[in-house]
Amino acid sequence: MLLYAVVPAEAEAPALAGVCGRELEAVRDSEVALVAEECERAPEASRPMALRYYKIVDHLSRSATALPVRFPTVVGDRDEIVQELARRAPRWRRRLDELDGLAELVLRASWPDPAAADAGQPGGSAYLRRRAAQVHATEQVADDLERRARQVCRDVRRLPAIAGVRLACLAPRTAESELRRLLDEWQQEDAGREATLAGPWPPFSFVDQQEAAAS
């Protein structure tokens, strides 16, 4: 069975078809329920599938707080779901209450390379110093943006990024415009800075209480 999200036990059973074309069902515990779908085989882990999956999770989150489950997560049968619920229901319930009304927005920021001027300089020392400058700039921007974001975000977590900075922000959907304003301020302070905002969507990055190491 494909898992979609953890929702409060009192949430209505969703009247939707899942990615495998079957009706979704809510397997309930006393406090929480897991929304699942009977799939004959695991759905392919492809971009279009993940997107379809997301749309369903998003729909679920509109009517009740939801902890999205990582895609694709397939368990053997209802019994396994019941076992999982028994193990984690109290923690999940707590987290659902904490995340009530909150969504996730993702910030991306980029800025001019501080070492651009020295890019041509040959040799190991020059290389290492360039890298040090780039790493420091990244740390600085991340710290700065996180500090600013925390004015509206209940929580901020860093996401892995190959270049630039990516932050996940946990906030009410209505905070989007304020967050945008803060990013504009940051952007205008220096030429070459760029910031973009994506979301809001269900809080994928915040389903755990503790800070996720790499996800």
Partner: protein, 68 residues
């Protein structure tokens, strides 16, 4: 010139979104087994110890060897 924060282009937003859908979210189950042809080969229990080399060597009383 007024510069306003752009909404991430749909491509970038999609990448960020998909990254969260498959990289974030609740994780059910805890162990990873890597196998080939249905034979379980590796039980992955990763514990990365990240300590600067000189600290590790000092703490176990080794002399640092310098590479030539």
């Amino acid at each position: 010139m007024s510069v306003s924060t752009t909404t991430a282009s749909s491509d970038v937003a999609l990448i960020d979104l998909l990254d969260r859908v498959i990289g974030g979210g609740v994780v059910v189950s805890g162990d990873i087994v890597i196998g080939i042809a249905d034979v379980d080969l590796i039980y992955l229990g990763l514990r990365l110890v990240l300590a600067p080399a000189h600290e590790v060597e000092d703490s176990v009383g080794l002399t640092r060897r310098r590479s030539k």
